[in-house]
Amino acid sequence: MARMTGRRALFAVPVLLTVTFAVFAVAAASPFDPVKAYAGTAGLTASQDTLDQLRANLGADQPLVARWWNWLTAALGGDLGDSSVMRQPVADVIGERIGWSALLAATAFLVAILLGTALGVLAARRQGGLLDRCVSSAAYTLEAAPAFWLGLLAIWFFALKLGVLPAGGLTDTASDTVTAGQVASHLVLPALVLGVSQLPWFFLYVRQGVADALDEDPVRGARARGLSERTVLLGHALRSGMLPMLTLVGSRVPELITGALLVETVFSWPGIAAATVQAATSVDFPLLAALTVLATAAVLAGNLLSDLLYGLADPRVGFDG
């Protein structure tokens, strides 16, 4: 297991190198000019000498590979550059915001797993039944529904129509301290929307897993021994049906990041996904590059977690990957 972790970490190095290089290559091929971005409106009136001086200071006159290498060595030392839109070092932006994103993502995952498991078991119990058909159709529809649209409709219904939950942000506008109660009430809607947008996958997976398990020998054996339907369903079918889903949770990181990009923006949640969108809107290259690499690292870590859990849960798989 330790060997597999080590091998995967080694595999992650070329992947991250490729991705960082591609990020710099795309930026170099684009009309984006770091000097103009740095100088802002002052760049319009500055003399050519000043701009050339600035270009040399920023290292923007160097070739692509040299710029990439400088960024890489600085990043390994913890210096990711400065964010122009947040007006602080990129490392500080990430440090301040990553906790809020993790809180949102973890709550959403919990919502998706609990709801998905409950609905999946209920649907699998009578496959093709009314409940199954309703929930399955709803799941396909939800899978096609954009998360930002769901978020906006949730704001309309819960915040405006019913007036029970806040529409966005982390705290009420009037308060200047962050209290747990305020955060909790502001967390409900974004976590629910992000969780529901992830729900179809969890639901369909549990439903399929439990339905398959219900047709297998252990369940037939349990029924033959006269165990109650409840024990058969929850003790036998759910256990073997849910295992693959739980082990694959790690591979859902890309979808979670995609959802977070939209949900955090809709609800003005102060996480790193919302910061990514802000960085993109104002072409803040240092922040955007760092967050892209961070997301890639998160995806790789999620994949590794999946494989490790799968090996732990199913001894036939082993840790050779």
Binding site: P31, R133, W156, L160, L288, L291
Partner: protein, 288 residues
């Protein structure tokens, strides 16, 4: 008993499948007619401002209601769907061409080319698509082409994988051996024997990619990174509806979103049937 339930279940499944297939086909035809025929036929200006009728809820005169400057939302949605569909189609086409070329080349050349190309595909699969798309758009914005390129460049990876594995399995088949021993050049084997055989799979991937590409375009446009506002796609419509929604008016948000969901489900339904036809062993369960 067991057999009986199996048979009855099979029968209900088949009839619901037919219903679903018919419904999907009807929706796809309706959408195609709406976006192709309505704009040239109905000589109405979808940008026509009518401040006296702003933010009217759905009514017989305006089935989808009107927006904050009194424009008819049904008309705006049809034009938005037209643009979303066009961007999605072009992006899916570009992505399929890139993916097929890369996948076929990797499998046909094999060896180091294959290994390096597939490692690069793996590396880019590790970046969440929307994030990579946001990055590309942010660097090349604004305009329609940056959006198309961004969606295409994030979607060719899966096609490349599918085509590669298909070509690999085809290469081991006797007719390819026969062609090679018959003296066909590598180029002829690829163009004449391998590519035609992978086209159904690539075509299926392309069809499934269209709603996905539309989804990506809408997300980018909603985030303010997509199409310029004078070429309003469905995502732009949801974006501009945000202020009306916060004032309590739901219809400018609801309808563009629905117009994104319904065609997506219909295309997935058709593609599921197609997949069952070309590959009957696999159940079309998780079709999106």
């Amino acid at each position: 008993m067991a057999e009986l339930t199996w048979i009855s279940r099979g029968r209900t499944r088949r009839s619901t499948r037919t219903v679903r297939l018919t419904a999907s086909a009807v929706v796809v035809v309706a959408v195609a007619l709406a976006v192709l025929i309505v704009p040239p036929l109905v000589q109405l200006d979808e940008q026509a401002v009518d401040l006296a009728n702003k933010l009217q809820p759905p009514s017989p005169a305006h089935p989808f209601g009107t927006d904050d400057v009194g424009r008819d939302l049904l008309l705006r949605c049809v034009y938005g769907l037209r643009i979303s569909l066009l961007v999605g189609l072009v992006a899916a086409l570009v992505a399929t061409v890139i993916g097929t070329a890369v996948g076929a080349a990797a499998a046909a050349f094999g060896g180091w080319t294959d290994r390096v190309v597939m490692r690069i595909v793996d590396a880019f699969s590790s970046v969440p698509h929307l994030l990579l798309g946001i990055f590309i758009v942010a660097m090349f914005r604004p305009g329609v082409w940056p959006v198309i390129v961004s969606v295409a460049l994030t979607h060719w990876l899966s096609t490349a994988r599918i085509v590669r594995s298909e070509v690999l399995s085809l290469r081991a088949r006797p007719f390819v051996d026969a062609a090679i021993s018959g003296g066909a050049s590598r180029r002829r084997v690829i163009v004449r024997h391998l590519l035609p055989a992978v086209l159904p799979q690539a075509g299926l991937a392309a069809v499934l990619m269209v709603p996905h590409a539309m989804w990506h375009e809408s997300a980018l446009s909603f985030l303010g990174l997509g199409l310029p506002s004078h070429q309003a796609s469905l995502g732009n419509l949801v974006q501009t509806a945000r202020s009306s929604l916060l004032a309590g008016d739901w219809w400018p948000t609801l309808f563009p979103g629905l117009l994104l969901i319904v065609p997506t489900l219909a295309i997935a339904g058709l593609a599921g049937a197609w997949r069952e036809r070309i590959n009957p062993r696999r159940r079309s369960e998780l079709m999106l």
